[in-house]
Symmetry: C2
Subunit: 122 residues, 2 copies
């Protein structure tokens, strides 16, 4: 099974999702992220999904779930880089990624985490 690498950048953990997520990979990512947040005391998690051409309800649930896990470990999650076409499909499917903070790209996501804004979930 492939594992998705988690990169530490200061107090932020960066995850780039490039492969189609399957059950096992998603569970492993959640476990690894929880471990790494606990280990490093990271205050932010940044997830890049710019390589994903499909964000279905499974990926949506995974993002919501990671965001929830990070929150109870007192870290903020920002998802960035969604392709415009993916955003359109997501809304058409009625998926809202409730509770997940979004950023246009990873650079802005990083800025968001560094500012520690609390109003970015709008």
């Amino acid at each position: 099974m492939e594992r998705i690498p988690i990169l530490r950048m200061g107090s932020t953990l960066l995850v780039t999702i490039q492969i189609d997520m399957q059950d096992q990979t998603a569970v492993a990512l959640q476990d690894d992220l929880a471990d790494r947040i606990a280990q490093t005391g990271a205050s932010g998690v940044l997830i890049d999904i710019s390589a994903l051409e499909i964000v279905d309800s499974f990926v949506g649930r995974m993002l919501t779930s990671i965001s929830g896990i990070a929150r109870v470990l007192s870290a903020t999650t920002v998802v960035g880089g969604m392709q415009p076409a993916v955003a359109i499909t997501l809304v058409e499917l009625g998926l809202s990624l409730e509770g997940v903070r979004m950023a246009l790209n990873i650079e802005r996501g990083m800025a968001l985490l560094q500012r520690g804004e609390s109003d970015s979930a709008r």
Copy 2:
């Protein structure tokens, strides 16, 4: 064909290699990186290979080649996150990654690029 995403973080472009590289993917990555360096005026390229369990001569050549392309576009390339076992195999195979700057992990690689050290190729 899968394309490897290139993330911009300030003046650095970050690439996480997670999939087994094939000819086409490697060529596409080189093209994309050259375009992005020209477009953004990035001064550094950071390549994370922590997910790679095999670095053979093909990947080695690709890293050397990316490093060379970035150099003529006046950007410095740092490769980080090599697994210890990979490092051992690499040396056993006689591959030296000549001219490629290495860092233990992405965080140190980023620090290296930000300091703009010129003696890091040792």
